[in-house]
């Protein structure tokens, strides 16, 4: 039962225990007595001894979730930033479009009710109260795969699904020319295309989840509801090379470009942005040991870890994948803001950094990361080598502000088995990209010049994107470009735990059977005094490198 408006108060997160200054203890150094460390490696979790002196960066503990998420949402809708409350912007007969973040976040998927369901229920109720009938719900997939009916039902909830699916609740289709509108060009010549339904609406409401600081802001609408014609202006090697890092919007050319587009969109559209932030409680219950400092493991934690490893090792790959992808995280909502996009996003960003940021002194010679079983583009699917590359070099390398965690010319060790394994219905163009394009060149600029347009306009891939559940034909290129800043910065990339060395070689990486071997390979060149940093996952951490 909702409380009367007069009794609503802004709910604040208990912040005292999470001051950034108190986070020095999130960085520890391995000594002789230190426990082994958990390292994600595809669909397994390794438990490996790291060399003495290795610096391990831990994610901060989860912030306390808001005590009453529904009340906080209601408060945000009634007290938006730099805009009138949602109800005050409504009138009967107006056309409203609600765009919703797709399945690519949060990762893993969150327990029900999903934040998007909570947001939708309140927004739809407000619209109904004010007689607004012309409402469409669009999943902002951009060039991602179409979400299935079951996936959509899960994130929007039964109420919205029953009322709107399938005529007024659907996936955005970036190849439906009749449903696209060009709004103009930015001062930099970037074409701004958008969903026609959104562009023709009197009010566009965007429901966002910020899992990392890269998400949200102008990027939500300018990317989520845009086709290839728009995305190619910032999803390209030149722009991404100028992004330091993706997690620092102030120093990211990608964000500058999407901000320019977003501002142009705002000139012609009335947008009510709702942004939320979640804490880092990825694993709870029987798996909560995954988020602990291993030095503080109890016997029960070690037993559970051993049991978890044994179970994963002894399952068929299909069953293991199904088990992992069906796991739902007990994320807690740590903030919700509504109103003007830029103001809302600044507040959301501050909260996200409050959750993730850890101060770190200096860069390392060698950075170790573990690529887990999931990334934004393989939910309920296979983590293929291109996505492993994107997660390692694209996302995990970019988990920094100011300077990368590894020095220029340094070595990055990426733990992943790198199997030549693709999902034929989700990632068809990835297969051709991997087997046809990468053998010719790994140079992102060359790939863009030679192959990108052909893949983007390939009729079969377009068909599979529109009517199947395939990522757009151009998507593997974007995944490859995503790793471009890391490729420009690093001297070597070594895949540890690699099962198929030819896969690593095709991507320009070296292969090692084990993490020990990878570290030995790295230190053989840099010397035994080389500094090593391990970025501990899960959950997530952003290093403020001094």
């Amino acid at each position: 039962m909702a409380r009367p408006e007069s009794k609503l108060k802004e709910i604040k997160v208990a912040e005292l225990r999470h001051e950034v200054g108190a986070r020095r203890d999130m960085v520890m150094t391995v000594n002789r007595r230190s426990e082994r460390r958990i390292i994600p490696c595809g669909e397994e979790f390794l438990f490996e001894k790291l060399p003495v002196g290795t610096r391990v960066i831990y994610p901060p503990p989860p912030l306390e979730p808001l005590a009453d998420a529904d009340q906080a949402i209601r408060y945000a809708l009634l007290h938006p930033e730099n805009q009138d409350p949602l109800f005050a912007q409504l009138s009967p007969n107006m056309r409203v479009t609600i765009a919703i973040d797709d399945i690519s976040l949060p990762l893993p998927q969150m327990r029900r009710p999903d934040i998007r369901e909570r947001l939708l229920n309140q927004v739809l109720q407000t619209l109904a109260d004010y007689g607004v009938d012309d409402v469409h719900l669009v999943i902002a997939t951009s060039l991602h795969r179409r979400m299935t009916e079951a996936e959509i039902r899960r994130i929007v909830g039964e109420r919205a699904f029953k009322q709107y699916w399938p005529d007024r609740l659907y996936n955005f289709d970036a190849e439906n020319r009749a449903e696209l509108a060009m709004l103009g060009r930015t001062a930099h010549g970037e074409e701004v295309w958008l969903s026609k339904r959104a562009a023709d609406s009197d009010l566009l409401i965007y429901l966002n989840i910020n899992l990392v600081p890269m998400d949200g802001g102008h990027k939500s609408v300018a990317v989520g509801l845009a086709p290839y014609q728009s995305l190619r202006h910032h999803h390209n090697p030149a722009t991404l090379r100028d992004s330091h890092s993706y997690m620092d919007p102030t120093r990211s050319a990608l964000h500058r470009s999407s901000d320019r587009m977003g501002k142009l969109i705002h000139e012609s559209l009335n947008i009510f942005q709702i942004e939320t932030a979640v804490n880092t409680r990825m694993y709870g219950g029987m798996l909560d040991f995954l988020q602990k400092n291993e030095d503080q493991f109890s016997d029960w934690d070690r037993t559970r870890l051993a049991g978890f490893q044994w179970t994963l090792r002894n399952m068929s790959s299909e069953l293991r994948r199904s088990l992992l992808h069906n796991y739902a995280a007990p994320y807690g909502m740590i903030g919700v803001w509504a109103g003007d996009t830029e103001t809302v996003h600044q507040k959301a960003l501050a909260r996200v950094f409050q959750q993730y940021a850890v101060p770190v002194k200096g860069q390392a010679d060698i950075l170790i990361v573990g690529v887990p079983y999931i990334c934004p583009y393989n939910v309920n699917s296979i983590m293929n080598p291109i996505l492993a590359q994107c997660t390692g070099l694209g996302y995990l390398f970019n988990m920094y502000r100011n300077k990368p965690l590894v020095r220029e010319g340094g070595t990055m060790i990426v733990c992943h088995p790198l199997r030549d394994e693709f999902h034929p219905e989700h990632h068809p163009s990835y297969i051709e990209f991997f087997h046809r394009c990468l053998p010719e060149t790994t140079d992102a600029v060359e790939l863009e010049k030679t192959f990108e347009h052909e893949f983007a306009r390939n009729p079969t891939y377009i068909h599979m994107y529109r009517y199947g559940n395939a990522y757009h034909g151009v998507h593997p290129f974007y995944m490859w470009y995503w790793g471009e800043p890391a490729r420009q910065h690093l001297g070597r990339v070594i895949a540890a735990g690699c099962e198929e060395p030819e896969v690593a070689a095709r991507m320009g990486w070296e292969a090692a059977d084990t993490l020990d071997e990878a570290i030995a390979m790295a230190t053989s060149e840099l010397g035994r005094s080389a500094s090593i940093t391990y970025l501990h996952l899960p959950p997530l951490v952003i290093a403020d490198v001094e």
């Binding site: 190849e175 219905e425 068809p428 009729p459 079969t460 068909h463 529109r466």
Partner: protein, 257 residues
């Protein structure tokens, strides 16, 4: 080569690349047995029809076993049922079957895909085990210039029940595609192939871009194993076509470059 010729309305497109389409189960939601039954049920007077249908029914166990063993054998057994039917009658029934049944059962999105491929300079070619008297009118309807189909042998204007070699099934489809490509200086590596049955695995494997369409269990396993894309066509489209606007999009993209 079983059949390789220009359809009446078909203008030969840019043949730098080709897309080879299987027919039954791939472009159309029917199979060869359905077509055979239609033919035999309409082949002449009622007594003749009865005789053909009874003959066909007697062949059912043989057909079942043939289907389990080899697609080529199935075709051979199935076409024996047409023995004694006049060539003219078969071609006239083929026109009727195409017009009344087949066109209505084409997957709408399959047609979109053919057109989109054609717009992208990938010329369509039908490669099917169906008989030429059915495939020819369909190829005309789809404006597909070239096709390979099975041909009956005729004696004095009547079908002998035998198929003229090569019988379009299994490896023979791949061999036909290779000859077709070689004659036109096309690289098979640049060609696309679409089929639905595990009997077409060799045909798909011969092409650079194989796609499993509504695959049966064994083709799906092969496609997954060989990392071939999988497409599923449905009978009723749920959204309107946009490929007619593809040129407009291409123009806009060119403008932006």
């Amino acid at each position: 080569m079983s059949v390789s010729r220009k359809a009446a309305n078909g203008a030969r497109a840019n043949l730098g690349r080709a897309a080879f389409y299987d027919l039954d189960g791939t472009l159309v939601s029917l199979n060869l047995v359905h077509a055979a039954l239609f033919m035999l049920a309409n082949v002449g007077e009622w007594s003749g029809r009865l005789s053909h249908l009874v003959g066909f029914a007697a062949r059912v166990p043989h057909l079942y076993l043939a289907e389990r063993r080899d697609r080529r054998l199935l075709n051979t057994v199935l076409f024996e049922a047409f023995k004694g039917v006049s060539r003219d009658r078969l071609f006239s029934l083929g026109e009727e079957y195409c017009e009344r049944i087949m066109i209505r059962n084409l997957y709408p999105r399959a047609i979109e895909l053919i057109e989109a491929n054609r717009s992208a300079g990938i010329a369509p070619v039908l490669v099917t085990g169906s008989p030429d008297f059915i495939v020819a009118p369909l190829a005309r309807h789809l404006e597909i210039a070239d096709f390979a189909a099975n041909r009956l042998v005729y004696g004095r204007g009547l079908a002998t029940g035998r198929l003229a070699p090569p019988v379009m099934a299994g490896d023979e489809k791949a061999a036909w595609c290779a000859r077709y490509a070689a004659e036109r200086d096309i690289k098979l590596a640049d060609c696309w192939g679409y089929a639905d049955s595990h009997y077409d695995t060799a045909f798909l494997a011969a092409l650079g871009h194989p796609v499993a369409v509504n695959p049966d269990r064994r083709l799906l396993a092969a496609a997954t194993n060989r990392q071939w894309p999988v497409i599923r066509f449905e009978k009723a489209p749920t959204s309107e076509s946009v490929f007619s606007n593809d040129d407009a999009v291409a123009d806009e993209l060119r403008e932006g470059e």
